[in-house]
């Protein structure tokens, strides 16, 4: 693995960095500090810019109209895109587009026509419905939502929890148990239209994030045609597992971006701020915080790029993705915490982004598989089948 950026990577990273600093941050100054969306006209104007930059729809495969950018470069871009107040969960406020639900690239032609292409055109939105009140970290065992075949249809009953975006979605991927005796081999993925009778968004779940919330879903005799099965019956777990593994890389990258921005702000602040007649930067306690931040950032960055490199080469990257997620989310939390400390009262005020990063970064150690699950995944990879 070459540790140097290529000329092209350097150019793209620089372009995204300028975009964040010249386009996103000035607009963000006028937004509510917890906002996660731009005004519609600003959003459309900036989408035009990212299209002109050739970077719109980064995660869309080229054969579906996305730019031809490799995973390592996309990871470097993800690190840059998150370097602003809303960057952890709304990097550049979505102006670089997204692939929607990547699982749909493996869908049937009919499913692509009905769900994938409208999503890529921005006409439909989807949600990913895996976690349940019984748990999300061990979906193979926790899934209690059941689907029973009835003629050419399947009837789904049960519920999901911690689901993002279901209230605004047109459809979603819902994982349901179709064989109660087969554990992970008894789960099927269904594409569910949210306007079907029996689909309910029952409530909002408020979290540390003010602008974004999770939802609780209930399915009451929700009838889904067999043609809406994604993949094969009883093979849904592999779809979920693949998604969970892949998602860990950009998830970790976002934490690094925020940590970099926090550290940059601290480095600008401490030489200016004086206490007891000397700048904070002359205090060893402050210097060590900055040093620890730098080590955390560098360490996380290489873990994440190593995972991206393995994935890009088509190698098994489950362990590396888990390590990247574990290290970057925990390091990100430490960096933001130290920066808050250096800024003192300003660090906890809504005038600066630290308090939002602090709240949102805390979620990162739980979302997409908590740190303990990442350690479990790594242990299984180290110890082999005996631990499965």
């Amino acid at each position: 693995m070459d540790l140097n950026l290529t000329e092209e990577q350097d150019m793209i990273v620089g372009m995204v960095r300028r975009f964040v600093r010249e386009e996103i941050i000035p607009l963000e100054m006028d937004l509510d500090p917890d906002a996660d969306a731009l005004a519609e006209d600003d959003r459309e104007r900036l989408i035009e810019k990212t299209r002109e930059m050739g970077l719109y729809g980064l995660d869309i495969p080229p054969e579906y109209g996305g730019p031809e950018i490799d995973l390592i470069t996309r990871t470097l871009i993800a690190i840059e895109m998150s370097q602003h107040r809303a960057g952890l969960y709304a990097p550049c406020y979505g102006t670089f587009g997204g692939a929607g639900l990547a699982q749909l690239f493996e869908a049937t032609d009919d499913q692509k026509e009905r769900y994938l292409y409208p999503t890529l055109r921005g006409e439909k939105r989807g949600f990913f419905g895996l976690s349940e009140p019984s748990g999300g970290s061990d979906p193979a065992r926790a899934i209690q939502t059941k689907a029973v075949q009835d003629g050419d249809d399947w009837v789904i009953n049960g519920g999901k929890l911690w689901i993002s975006g279901a209230d605004r979605a047109d459809f979603g991927l819902v994982f349901a148990r179709t064989d109660s005796d087969k554990g992970r081999n008894g789960v099927t993925c269904f594409i569910v239209d949210t306007d079907m009778p029996g689909f309910h968004v029952r409530r909002i779940v408020h979290t540390l994030r003010s602008a974004h919330y999770a939802t609780e879903l209930q399915f009451e005799d929700l009838r889904v045609p067999s043609r809406n099965i994604l993949g094969q019956v009883n093979r849904g777990f592999a779809i979920a597992n693949d998604r969970l593994t892949r998602q860990r890389i950009p998830y970790a990258a976002g934490c690094i971006g925020v940590a970099i921005k926090a550290q940059e702000m601290a480095l600008e602040y401490v030489p200016q701020r004086e206490t007891f007649g000397a700048p904070l930067s002359t205090r060893q306690s402050i210097q060590w915080m900055l040093v620890d931040n730098e080590v955390d950032i560098k360490q996380s960055r290489w873990f994440v790029l190593e995972a991206a490199n393995k994935a890009a080469n088509g190698e098994v990257f489950r362990k590396e993705a888990a390590m990247a997620k574990l290290v970057a989310t925990e390091a990100g939390g430490r960096v933001v915490d130290r920066c808050m400390q250096m800024f003192g009262g300003l660090g906890v005020a809504k005038d600066l982004p630290f308090e939002r990063w602090f709240r949102e970064m805390r979620i990162r150690r739980i979302g997409e598989g908590p740190s303990e699950v990442q350690r479990h995944v790594i242990a299984r990879e180290l110890l082999g089948a005996s631990l499965r």
Binding site: P33, D34, D167, T194, R202, I204, H206, R209, S210, Q218
Partner: protein, 103 residues
């Protein structure tokens, strides 16, 4: 939000500078506005509610909740209102929201 309404004229005495959400109602206690006092608001709920009451003289009552999750709580209140009444409150500008179907 199901707490009792307070008369508009006591808003300045009752409210403080907290972050939170609020509703305004007309003389028939029908909700006409759902809004929030966010991190950029001057004087928090006190400033926002008193300004909103001035801007909407038809409002005769208000009620509020103090919360730091003012963005998600505001969206929730709007969605619940739409689920109950089929449309947003008359004084709220158009906004893209999700859809709830509370049990």
């Amino acid at each position: 939000m199901t707490k009792p309404w307070s008369p508009a004229e006591v808003a300045a005495q009752v409210l403080k500078g907290h972050l939170g959400v609020y509703q305004l109602a007309d003389a028939d206690e029908k909700v006409i506005l759902i809004a929030f006092a966010g991190g950029k608001s001057l004087y928090g709920l006190k400033g926002e509610v008193t300004a909103a009451l001035e801007a909407h003289p038809e409002a005769k009552y208000f009620r509020h909740e103090i919360t730091t999750a003012y963005q998600s709580r505001w969206r929730e209140l709007m969605m619940v209102h739409i689920a109950d009444h089929g449309e947003p409150p008359p004084c709220n500008p158009p906004v893209k929201l999700g859809k709830l179907s509370p049990a």
